[in-house]
Point group: C2
Chain length 213, copies 2
């Protein structure tokens, strides 16, 4: 059964990106520092098709596992626009559903990444993502607004946050205007390193109970 | 050498208290749920001089250790006003310095708790707290505004946050308007339980380097 999850890095003060985010300033001011733990891992650069990083630690295994479990992706338009300008070709190696008001034909990249542009809401994107995930899981890639929409609809079943020991000061918060009582949260596991605290949660909600059957 | 630290529970969405906080609604709407992990520990109730709780786990040891290391306390006026209406007598068993504009004589409680009311700022309170801490550590008890003042002055040397798997939705954030570049943060240790994720950090700043010498 495909799980619907997200997996994001946050600063210690709760931001997933800094101010002034955009295609020319991906992740916003000081935002990249949130991912220092990741940039140090060889696994991260391997998935980008580049060489880089200096460590093969448990932090890197987390990156590998997250790529391996994912069969399709959903993301918001602003994240896509940042990525369109900056990501290497065929980063996702799966279908990616972009939530947008813009009508646009699918973008078939070299390799196995295809971006589809969805104009009729998160449930429609989710349905398509499920159909193409080949039994693997569906990652709600971000940004914060997209994750919040899925959380508030009770559709997230698992999520992992990587809390970096970094203060950003201002920016875009992960946990903003999350509704109480839509879902319950349980701590599933914590992986500790000196680079970040990786905490995995599982949720229980009426909506995700329904979605699983 | 006395360390200056804080130790607080936060919800998964980053709040240390809910909305509508006050003496008649301590911790604000839904705020007490942030501390569920603590209320389950016998250690917590023992420090209140009451019987209660059902567990003696590592979570409880954390509570014991925090009380044991603390030689004096600093808190803001709103936290004091909530506590004045609700805390048992002699909870702190040490000097407590309350940051306030109100002039008021010290309040000597039965036992060894005395509240002193400080009108001339955080550094003055800190000086007095150091003098009375008998070589133990100084706890910046809260609330969020007081902790933020100490963080932004670079005066916090260690801190522990207990992240509860609970969504509050709105309220008072711990990490709000924290300045970048005042201090660096390192993860010191993580204690994982299914009740909360306890993460201890140490900081490095020019201010706390100076304060230690």
């Amino acid at each position: 059964m495909s799980k619907i999850f997200f997996d994001v890095g946050v600063s210690l003060d709760g931001y997933i990106a800094g101010d002034n985010r955009g295609p020319k300033n991906p992740l916003g001011d000081h935002g990249p520092t949130i991912h220092n733990w990741m940039y140090q891992q060889k696994a991260f650069w391997r998935h980008l098709g580049m060489s880089g990083g200096k460590e093969e630690t448990e932090d890197g295994n987390i990156i590998d596992d997250t790529f391996a479990r994912t069969g399709s992706y959903i993301m918001g338009k602003r994240m896509f626009e940042e990525g369109e300008a900056n990501w290497p070709e065929d980063l996702f190696k799966a279908n990616v559903y972009v939530l947008t008001h813009e009508k646009r034909n699918p973008w078939f990249q070299k390799g196995s990444t295809t971006f589809y542009f969805i104009n009729d809401g998160i449930e429609s994107a989710l349905e398509k993502a499920k159909q193409s995930s080949k039994g693997k899981d569906i990652r709600i890639q971000g940004g914060a607004d997209t994750i919040q929409q899925f959380l508030n609809a009770g559709l997230i079943e698992e999520f992992t946050i990587h809390i970096a020991p970094v203060i950003i000061g201002s920016g875009i918060r992960l946990m903003d205007s999350i509704k109480r009582n839509v879902f319950n949260v349980e701590i599933d596991k914590v992986i500790h390193s000196n680079l970040a605290s990786h905490i995995k949660y599982v949720t229980r909600s009426d909506a995700n109970k329904k979605a699983s059957h």
